[in-house]
Symmetry: C2
């Protein structure tokens, strides 16, 4: 098979973790005889520094021509804490999402037995939790217009907008994933207050009828925020709009204690993007200490979701589990035992695959 | 002193918990020689059933004439799960908030040593957590217009609006509380995406200058959702807009394991409302089993916030602590030991005060 990938390492630890991810992807391609071609481009703060645009046109062109985008992380202290800055790395992220039509951000939340003690939750509450958060990524308040200020600057406004089509495609996706899992969808909204949420609920009620084998649960967003902490095991597939998803998926990502382990996929109209959930950790950049496992697992998602290479994805997962069993991990999850560098972990995983 | 109170017991367990709260308030007034007068009115599902309006005009009139409103809980399964119902109890709640100008919802989050084992978090993370969430309650997406559907019904929209004045008064309140506490304010927003959040941050930055003794921390809402679980002790006073506050205050209310113990105050332009955070628990209505302590503690907040009766409020708190030390509590927090009914706990507290 031919795999045509765009590499967007981004800022901070982005380059070094993507390098490890590519070691694993290359080892897979070698082993299974896939024909891998890839090109690299700038995104984020480094792109602002280089060309004054966090998502340059040539980066966009490259993404459009690729079957999948392998993404590191963006963000730099240089551009933080200054909401009035003219150009910010986040704008690149939002521009990329919109232009590539990345409508569904998918985050599998799983627990790793050896990391359970790092969870802020009591082990018995979170042990075995295994669910999937699906966040709408190109609509809602993030992109709704009008947005801005009154003429005198003393009033500000944002607009949340959703169309039936936008809701339909992502809720449908949630049901399709649920059919392959434990067959339960939790639709999170605020239908007791918002008009957009009432449309979400209406569309979801219609789609639910097409999937009689899947159980549907409607939940208000405030209740979902409580339930994630109180009873995370009650979720299978959760689907929600952009802003609620921003909050809930981040909350969900810390309950397992394995933030450094969680991958994500953003499914698009034109292509799809695969990246770790964690940020660019500028303080660690270049130090060869960052944990590459979330990025490597994002590579597994890429093989599975973008290329339907299920066996290959499973082998990457197996290699990651093996490295953890062997204690061949970076300091953040070594728990005081001997630890290894970013590149050593990447090499170990590639060797295992080979 | 003359205390003029409106009683709004509401639905479900509302009437029986307000009854216990009033026992404590009456005992206080007797002991300290305050002149208590109160009148009762309908709100919520019971008001819909009686007069077709969840917040009847005469209830509003009564509230407007009172120094404080003592509120139970509203909500009934009859009106749940039907977002298309014409009249819903929540509309009464939102109408009341807007008409009474209840702009600031205040929720102190404290832990009770004897309830720590009920927290979903590891005890060492939450032990000693003591912070205050201040949620804007009459602006944002809850009340912004336009809200609705396109003509063909296939697109829905909501509007988030904030004026400088709305932000100023609540952020100022947060700083004033912080001055009496550990002198730290966390302003939660999404200034990297929303125009309203950028106005929040701008106004907060200006107000911060007026309170040089208070430390200011700006935090994105997704980060705050993580931090509440990972490190709740890092908060002192958190202030945020209506929708973010809805989500974060509910998340905050479950981390201590003492949801049944948490009171709230909604500070208004015309009067203020005091109520437990927990809901109307319809299944327990009339059974004399509900925990009245959050309502009794809301009574303490009422004495302190509405009447500036600090000693009286402290005595109610002392009585509640004593009932817990003595194990004279309802089943939900008795931990398998002998437990007491709602009214028995109410009597015990009133006796203690006397
Ligand atoms: C950086 C920010 C704009 C972004 C978002 O809110 O979507 C981030 O929090 C995320 O979740 O990817
Ligand atoms: C019932 C609902 C409209 C309400 C809200 O969202 O404000 C509730 O969740 C609350 O927090 O008091």
């Amino acid at each position: 098979m031919k795999l045509n990938i765009a590499l967007l390492p981004g800022d901070g630890i982005g380059p070094e973790i993507i390098e490890q991810g590519m070691k694993a992807v290359k080892a897979i391609c070698q082993k299974y005889g896939h024909d891998l071609s890839y090109k690299q481009a700038l995104v984020g703060a480094c792109a602002i520094d280089a060309v004054g645009n966090p998502y340059p046109d040539e980066t966009h062109e490259l993404c459009m021509q690729s079957d999948a985008v392998y993404f590191g992380a963006i963000g730099s202290p240089k551009y933080d804490n200054d909401p009035s800055a003219k150009v910010r790395p986040e704008q690149g992220l939002l521009g990329m999402r919109k232009k590539l039509g990345l409508f569904a951000n998918i985050r599998p939340v799983t627990t790793f037995p050896s990391l359970l003690h790092k969870s802020p939750l009591r082990a018995e509450l979170v042990e075995g939790a295994d669910f999937m958060c699906i966040r709408e990524l190109t609509g809602g308040m993030y992109f709704g217009r009008p947005q801005g200020r009154s003429e005198d600057g003393n009033t500000a406004y944002d607009t949340c907008v959703y169309s039936r089509e936008e809701i339909d495609r992502i809720v449908r996706l949630a049901y399709q994933y649920a059919q392959k899992r434990r067959k339960k969808v939790t639709v999170v909204d605020k239908a007791n207050v918002l008009a957009t949420s009432r449309l979400w609920r209406q569309v979801a009620q219609e789609i639910a009828k097409e999937f009689p084998d899947v159980e549907t649960e409607f939940m208000f967003v405030d209740n979902a925020a409580m339930r994630l902490v109180q009873w995370p095991k009650s979720f299978d597939v959760m689907v929600t709009e952009n802003m609620f998803g921003d909050i809930l998926t981040d909350e969900a990502s810390v309950i397992t204690g394995s933030l450094g382990m969680l991958p994500s996929a953003s499914i698009g109209v034109h292509t799809s993007v695969f990246e770790p959930i964690h940020g660019s950790w500028p303080q660690a950049a270049g130090k060869n200490i960052a944990n590459p496992l979330a990025t490597i697992l994002s590579g597994a998602l890429m093989l599975e979701y973008a290329f339907n290479l299920m066996e290959e994805g499973a082998l990457i997962r197996e290699a990651v589990a093996a490295s953890m069993d062997a204690g061949f991990v970076t300091e953040d999850i070594a728990d005081g035992a001997k630890s290894y560098s970013t590149s050593e972990v990447g090499d170990w995983i590639a060797d295992y695959i080979a």
